[in-house]
Subunit: 261 residues, 2 copies
């Protein structure tokens, strides 16, 4: 098939990442990418590579991951939604599909990624929240956590918040647009939006913020960690199950789905 005859499809996707070794394809291991590519082949007969706007780690969930692929298929976007949801396993779903110019790059053109980390802040475990939150029994000081959050906002070198492997990138400078902790009953939700994130950055950040919230780390200590720019200094890395990629933003309107889940 001639490349000129293909177009690009963008999908907004939701998944329960519990059973997958992350978004990215890995030989012999279940991955979100692998499942989407299998479903695409079943639907269109084509074998295509799927690219994501944000690579989620093993066990991390998504309500608004954005992925793209080339296709020669003339299926309508509605039929891509319905057809892929038919072939995908129950823990992965397509929420919306858009037909884009062939040169649209789902990763490079994204201007920000929004993640939430869910903490269940109560003494006892929750069968209903299990799998989508991390249980912290000690009462968290939300005000102290939000003071630390303010230090994160802006353009900083986040090397200390990257895992040991996460700092092996050209630059560890990232722009955090928003970082806020909110309490809703016994749920404590950390919302963070940034240009992009280093490997394990959100989970190391919330790991440090939880220490602040429990009074085990002062604001000064938190700042010293940020200023040290030393890989893996922050943490501990909070469990993947509490993390969810909520939304990826582009300069123009791409999707019109409500994101209040």
């Amino acid at each position: 098939m001639n490349l000129a005859e293909t177009t690009k499809i963008l999908l907004v996707m939701e998944y329960d990442g519990s059973c997958y070794h992350g978004f990215q394809w890995q030989d012999g291991l279940p991955s979100i990418q692998g499942e989407v590519e299998k479903a695409l082949t079943k639907l269109t007969g084509e074998r295509r590579r799927v690219m994501s706007a944000s690579r989620t780690d093993a066990g991390v969930h998504a309500k608004g991951q954005v992925v793209s692929f080339r296709t020669g298929s003339a299926l309508s976007t509605d039929n891509f939604v319905g057809g892929l949801n038919y072939y995908l396993p129950n823990d992965i779903a397509v929420r919306a599909a858009y037909r884009m110019n062939d040169d649209f790059n789902v990763r490079r053109e994204a201007i920000s990624r929004e993640y939430s980390y869910y903490i269940l802040n109560r003494p006892t475990r929750s069968p209903i929240r299990e799998g989508f939150s991390y249980l912290v029994a000690g009462k968290l000081d939300i005000e102290a956590m939000n003071q630390a959050c303010l230090e994160l906002v802006g353009e900083h070198d986040f090397a200390s918040f990257a895992g040991r492997n996460g700092a092996t990138v050209k630059s560890t400078v990232r722009h955090v647009f928003r970082a806020v902790v909110e309490r809703e009953g016994d749920l404590v939700i950390f919302n963070i939006s940034a240009s992009s994130f280093l490997l394990h950055q959100v989970r190391n950040t919330i790991g440090a913020l939880i220490r602040v919230g429990l009074g085990k780390m002062t604001l000064d200590e938190f700042n010293s960690i940020l200023e040290a720019r030393e890989p893996a200094l922050a943490g501990p890395t909070a469990p993947a199950c509490g993390l969810c990629l909520n939304r990826v933003n582009y300069p123009g309107p791409l999707e019109n789905f409500d994101e209040d889940l």
Copy 2:
């Protein structure tokens, strides 16, 4: 053991009902009651019957079920919470325990039960909400549903909202204190509080309310169903997975847990 030496323990419980054939013990089938009684025996060595404030059906969840049992054990309430949570399966948990007078009746002394029914109101399925909501693709008219809700409030004969077997009770009159439908993004939540409920009453009520919300039933038709007092006239019975027993209220303060889950 002498009965005079026993006291009564009340537990506030949360469970994911997906894998159970309801609260009540059934021979050879997994039940919440069966699991709690097994865990109690492991913890105390005693074999005791457990009674619930509200019998939840197969597949129905709970965030605030209240159960009681007699015990000769001198374990502290904290140790009942910790010990039972150790022995219970992951999808059942104790949130709090209270030591009560031996004559306290967990069912008779409850003054109201609060249930929520969760509808995911969007075109595509949700891997994250799956198991705890019912997918309705057509846009629901919340205002129309709330007008119908108003008809439910007060003391009425709810025979039409009972299943065929649910109307074989002495009286089908119940007092509904509150019935409200709210939208939170693409989630539509029906909250209902009543003295007690007939078998399948909440699920038949939301089944009829969904028809109202989709414009398939007028307010007049909804009223005629209520007035007809004919078993199983309302419906269809909405799936169990969307239903959750949030809270059981007693004349005095029993528990101090936040119920915002």
